[in-house]
């Protein structure tokens, strides 16, 4: 048996919409098989993984809190990936953004004013963008592979945060724990509604998604992003600069990752610690693809991936499986998404029997 692909005349609108759902379905099936293999009741396991977190108001707030950084980062990454710039270092830009945003409440903690929070946001976005500018500069100027440089900078950022929090920024009144001062009241991102924990990070995520959706759909810039992504040569004939696009894509995604980092430390954690992200920058890559690189699709995909984080915690408590399952699900989901996307551009035919011999063979 062989699998043959036949190019469709256009793209299949049906599968363009269906493919993320097919991928989710396949992931659930894989989950059932996995839970049976682990000797757990698959219905109970899937219930506590994917349904239980949605049944309580407080856990819906947790969902929004976890989805916020994923959506913010993934929306930025969609600009990169659409324009064929492979920024996989969002995790590092997230960290540097969070650190830049924390300068005011940690180093200048005496200055308490309503101006602090807006400035923190600006600093964080500049920090994230500046860190993303390194691989962008190297790619635009020297043609250095941006995948490897952006990824290497993640490790550097993690170590830099670790050093800062254990060294110069350690809380002098903190009994030697490796953490900074708690942010003062002016430095904490407020909640959206009084009754729940969801902070403005989620609001930023929705705004970013809407703005980028508008840019991609309705402006020349959006057209430029798509054209340059599909063919840099064609883009140059249209008068677009692929070099400028490298900077644009990296700076936008770096700034959004930085904003995500700030929302996390200011809205959720309230201080800097040696580790501030459970891999949001990498999970956001999955979010971007599951959302089909469409900012509105990414909002939905961000909520789904946030659910896997919550579900992992819930399942660990209720049925005693390791929370490593979360990352396994996330990886499987990306695999299925990429596989299903083939259906958009190709018809798949199963050919039974021996392969026919080509004349040139």
């Amino acid at each position: 048996m062989r699998i043959e692909l036949k190019k469709r005349d256009g793209i299949s609108t049906l599968f363009a919409i269906l493919s993320p759902f097919v991928a989710l379905g396949l992931t659930l099936i894989a989950g059932v098989i996995l839970f049976i293999a682990l000797g757990k009741d698959p219905v109970a396991a899937l219930y506590s993984f994917f349904i239980e977190p949605l049944t309580e108001i407080w856990s819906l707030h947790e969902l929004a809190i976890k989805a916020a950084p994923l959506i913010l980062i993934a929306v930025g990454l969609s600009v990169c990936y659409r324009s064929n710039n492979w920024n996989i270092g969002a995790e590092g830009q997230f960290i540097i953004g969070a650190m830049a945003g924390s300068i005011l409440p940690v180093v200048f903690h005496g200055w308490q004013s309503p101006l602090v929070l807006p400035l923190m946001i600006v600093f964080a976005m500049i920090g994230g963008a500046a860190y993303a500018a390194i691989p962008a500069f190297l790619k635009a100027r020297l043609n250095t592979n941006e995948i490897l440089t952006s990824l290497m900078l993640v490790y550097v950022a993690q170590l830099f945060l670790d050093w800062t929090v254990r060294g110069p920024w350690r809380n002098p009144e903190g009994f030697n724990f490796p953490e900074t001062r708690n942010f003062h009241d002016y430095a904490v991102l407020p909640r959206i509604i009084e009754t729940g924990k969801t902070h403005w990070g989620f609001g930023f995520a929705l705004i970013a998604a809407l703005v980028l959706w508008f840019i991609m759909r309705r402006t020349l810039k959006g057209f430029e992003i798509t054209v340059l992504g599909q063919s840099a040569r064609a883009g140059r004939f249209a008068g677009f600069s692929d070099k400028k696009m490298v900077y644009f894509a990296f700076l936008v995604s770096g700034a959004l990752a930085g904003l995500a980092g700030l929302s996390e430390v200011s809205g959720s954690i309230g201080q800097l610690r040696p580790v501030i992200s459970p891999g949001y920058g990498f999970t956001a890559i999955i979010v971007a693809f599951l959302g089909r690189l469409n900012p509105l699709g990414i909002v939905a995909a961000g909520l789904v991936l946030a659910l896997t984080y919550l579900g992992g915690e819930a399942a660990q408590i209720s049925i005693g499986i390791t929370d490593k399952v979360t990352r396994l699900f996330q990886g499987l989901l990306l695999f299925f998404v990429l596989g299903c996307d083939t259906l958009i551009h190709y018809r798949i035919r199963l050919v039974f029997g021996a392969a026919q011999k080509g004349s040139a063979a």
């Binding site: 699998i3 043959e4 692909l5 190019k7 990936y81 492979w86 996989i88 190297l138 020297l142 043609n143 250095t144 592979n145 995948i147 490897l148 440089t149 990824l151 290497m152 900078l153 490790y155 550097v156 170590l159 830099f160 670790d162 050093w163 060294g167 990498f282 890559i285 999955i286 693809f289 390791t322 490593k324 399952v325 979360t326 990352r327 396994l328 699900f329 996330q330 990886g331 499987l332 990306l334 695999f335 990429l338 596989g339 996307d341 083939t342 190709y346 798949i348 080509g358 040139a360 063979a361």
Partner: protein
């Protein structure tokens, strides 16, 4: 054994997994396929080798298990990118994410257990050569494999007909296909070879370098191996030099940390990653050489026309 010998030996041990993974990926990329999943295949090799060594009591079987695990895992990548022509960059990332997750789950039962170490094999007579004997001929089998792989791959790529075909596919898959070369089949074999090398490299980490299982124990080595392929401009001999340079950097920083020379340990730990960036920058300064050596079809999907 004197101090110099000991230092050289540790550098070689640190370099072996980088070299093996880089050699495997080099063949994959020469066939025109960019598999960014080296880190994922490596960590699967590491966990499989450790688990199989524990369960069978034989580190040798563990090494073979790691190799097979890496190869099987690479087939996932092959199926998606070669059969379903999915985007190679994204699929490689998926392979890494999946590998880190799956290995974490499998390895949970093995955390903290003392590991089995693959014994060194002394080659009679040769290992008695003064100074070099202990360094080159009293090593673990995976080290020998890595050296054989460098020589074998050099010969295969530049001296054999099959290697010429593989390079032809990497440079222009459409022309190669028109000449009747089996593009997809050759690429599958190349991807599997890359997976086997990465798996064995991972096995080296968990049963030779540090015989234990630690989550994420590859710590970016798969990515460094990818950078080494670029550094080597797709030539096996240069990959060997690059891997040993990196081995020296990582051992040097460990040495400096243990001496406590007043530099923050985090900065020293960041050195291998910073060195990777520096190396990539230096290589890309010479743009013409990169352009000449890069396989022209690298990363592009191929759909045979029927």
């Amino acid at each position: 054994m004197d101090m110099t010998q000991a230092i050289i030996l540790t550098i070689m041990t640190a370099a072996t997994p980088l070299l093996l993974a880089a050699i495997g990926e080099l063949v994959v990329e020469r066939s025109g396929v960019l598999n960014l999943g080296v880190e994922g295949m490596m960590i699967m090799g590491a966990v499989a080798a450790f688990a199989i060594a524990q369960l069978t009591g034989s580190a040798g079987l563990g090494a073979i298990g790691g190799l097979v695990a890496g190869m099987l895992f690479s087939l996932l990548f092959g199926f998606l990118t070669l059969t379903l022509v999915a985007n190679q960059v994204a699929t490689g990332l998926a392979l890494t994410i999946l590998g880190l997750g799956l290995s974490g789950m499998i390895g949970e039962a093995f955390i903290g257990l003392p590991g089995l170490k693959l014994a060194a094999v002394e080659i009679p007579l040769l290992s008695d050569i003064p100074f070099f004997g202990r360094i080159l001929f009293a090593q673990d089998p995976i080290f020998y494999t890595s050296i054989v792989a460098v020589i074998g791959v050099s010969w295969f790529l530049f001296r054999s007909r099959a290697g010429l075909r593989l390079r032809a596919i990497g440079d222009n898959h459409s022309s190669a296909h028109a000449l009747g070369i089996k593009v997809v089949r050759t690429r599958y074999l190349a991807v599997m070879f890359g997976g086997a090398c990465a798996g064995l490299a991972g096995a080296h980490l968990s049963i030779v370098y540090t015989p234990q299982w630690v989550e994420n124990m590859t710590a970016g080595r798969g990515w460094i191996a990818l950078a080494l392929v670029v550094f080597a401009s797709w030539r096996p001999g240069r990959a060997l030099i690059g891997a040993y340079l990196f081995g020296a950097v990582s051992i040097g920083q460990l040495f400096a940390q243990s001496r406590g020379i007043g530099i923050p340990s985090q900065l020293l730990s960041a050195l291998p990653y910073l060195a990777t960036i520096a190396v990539l920058v230096i290589i890309s300064l010479n743009r013409r050489m990169t352009l000449i050596n890069t396989p022209a079809s690298l990363g592009k999907s191929f759909v045979p026309e029927r």
